[in-house]
């Protein structure tokens, strides 16, 4: 079985969020990590590899620095890393990003493509389903469990108040939830090997069956009209009292606000 996993390098917004004095996000001070949903997707692929045997190829699109997440993926157990990077691909919205990744994946053999549901910087959840549309294969989003049965996959697909157990013939694309699993750590030997491993780097010319008009900023149907850092409502009062005083404090506020 051949599995392609798409990952994205994102700034870490969880826990380590840093702000500038004016209250805006200090992106430079934040760590770049493998997007959590993507990491769960990679872990799912590695578990399928452990269980059924598979070749796992990890693809990322980004700046040259995004090679870091590929090395991390290799250290976790992936077999091959492909970095898609080119100036003309920059400024892409989800349409142009999915066109780029589909163009890269057309060069590869695959039974299964796994992406994270969404990235923590954009939160759109669009790129996975859009890749599947460009490749004309079925998609199952929001996967919370993945099994292989013959030439089909059986997936638990999460909804707000239920889940569906779905079966579909491969090839198909699955988007993974971070809840899917607990990703493994890199192994020391894996880190050592990953450091030396060769990363395949592809540019625009390596993308298959994609028109220039669908790539980069120029190929993006959506355009930013305005962007601003969000003005948060300021902190209110903060008190540090004993238990009885704390309780009285809360009750007093609830009374003042006519809640009780």
């Amino acid at each position: 079985m051949k599995i392609v996993v798409c990952v994205k390098q994102v700034p870490d917004t969880k826990g380590g969020v840093k702000f500038n004095p004016d209250g805006t996000l200090d992106r430079g001070a934040m760590l770049a990590i493998m997007n959590p949903d993507d990491k769960a997707g990679l872990e799912a692929a590695l578990r399928l590899k452990d269980q059924y045997g598979a070749e796992v190829t990890v693809v990322t699109m980004g700046l040259p620095k995004a090679e870091e997440v590929l090395r991390e993926a290799l250290a976790m157990g992936a077999d091959k890393g492909i970095l898609v990077t080119d100036r003309v691909l920059g400024g892409a919205d989800t349409w142009a990003t999915s066109q780029t990744l589909a163009g890269a994946i057309r060069n590869l053999e695959y039974d299964l493509i796994i992406t994270g549901r969404q990235a923590i910087d954009g939160d759109t959840a669009q790129v996975g389903p859009q890749i599947s549309e460009h490749l004309n294969i079925p998609v199952i989003s929001y996967a919370q469990d993945i099994k292989i049965e013959g030439d089909s996959v059986i997936v638990q697909r999460q909804y707000d108040d239920r889940y569906h157990v779905l079966k579909v013939q491969m090839p198909c694309l699955i988007t993974a939830l971070a809840e899917l699993n607990e990703p493994r750590y890199m192994t020391p030997g894996g880190i050592f090997d990953a450091y030396d491993a060769e990363i395949t780097v592809w540019g625009r010319a390596d993308l298959k069956d994609v028109e220039d008009s669908n790539l980069g900023l120029k190929g993006s149907p959506t355009q930013i009209a305005r962007a601003s850092d969000k003005v948060r409502k300021g902190a209110g009062e903060k008190v540090n009292l004993d238990v009885t005083e704390s309780v009285d404090y809360i009750i007093d506020k609830l009374k003042v606000k006519h809640v009780i």
Binding site: P11, T13, K14, G15, V17, L25, D93, W95, S98, I120, G122, D123, A125, Q126, V127, P129, Q130, I137, P138, V139, S141, I154, Y159, D160, D161, R162, H164, V165, L166, V168, E179, S220, T222, Q223, I224, A225, R226, A227, S228, D229, K230, R232, K233, G234, G236, E237, K238, V239, N240, L241, D242, V243, S246, V247, I250, I251, K253, L254, K257, V259
Partner: protein
Amino acid sequence: MNIQDYKGVFVFAQQVDNVLSGIALELVGKGKDLAKDLGVDVTAVLVGSDVASLADELAEYGADKVIVVDDPELKEYRTEPYAHALASVINEYKPEIFLIGATAIGRDLGPRVSARIHTGLTADCTQLEIGDFPINPIPGREQLHNQLLMTRPAFGGNTIATIACPEFRPQMATVRPGVMQKAPREAGRKAEVINYNPGFTPDNKYVEILEVVKAVSDTVDIMDAKILVSGGRGVGSPENFKILEDLAAVLDATVSCSRAVVDAGWKPKDLQVGQTGKTVRPNVYFAIGISGAIQHLAGMEESDIIIAINKDETAPIFDVADYGIVGDLNKIVPALTEKLKEAIANK
């Protein structure tokens, strides 16, 4: 694509088990506002099996037209037949705007449809308006009027971006549930109902549903609750949510939770507040043992009053709390419940 051919505001009227989702009526309400600004109609697109009877409700909430796509293949939500239904409706009727709820269904359906018809899609919008693009005139560049300006939080809610889709139609957006208002219901209001079936032929993209497993839940939808008692990882264990439930019972409130609690398997997903859960704006939001990751804040910071209890005085939740109490929730919450019982009994 001739942009002038595209007219009208369409909304996807999501239904599950032949009951309209709240977002369907919210989108009709918002769609009506946008349609008024543009001088066009708002059309609800109703997709399912034996769903025609829901058209009246959409009309009473403001839909001018209802396009019904009714087919046995559409009984349960599946990506391919639903994407085929919407893409066919768009190609046939050419709307200038198409709105979809940012639900677990809409966030799967929207990208597949927008990719099929080649247009832009803006995710999880919290504000929609008709305006100019560019917003301010730029010398030497044409300023387009009557564009859909779609505003959304990004970066876990830390930045706000307004997006336009000037060169492609329809302008598509998914809209976060609970943000737009539905219009008042006008009993007896009628809409023009159009039946449309593009034909459904199963192919490799039609997945097979082996089983539908519904979560057993008798709780109030957290998006409708006036008071939420919300717990995070700091609550410590699923059993310890009892103290939150006791507090909620006294205040006639509903229990909700953070993503960490859902990830740990302590509470079901439908109680999750935040970027990947639900957006809530109750009168009072108790954040108990919730550190306040920005993804969580994005889902609750519009609450009228936020009361946070956390033992870590540096927790980011205190940055948005109106009233922050640094202390041990295991002591404060039960004591608060007892004192509230007395206070309410003596009223």
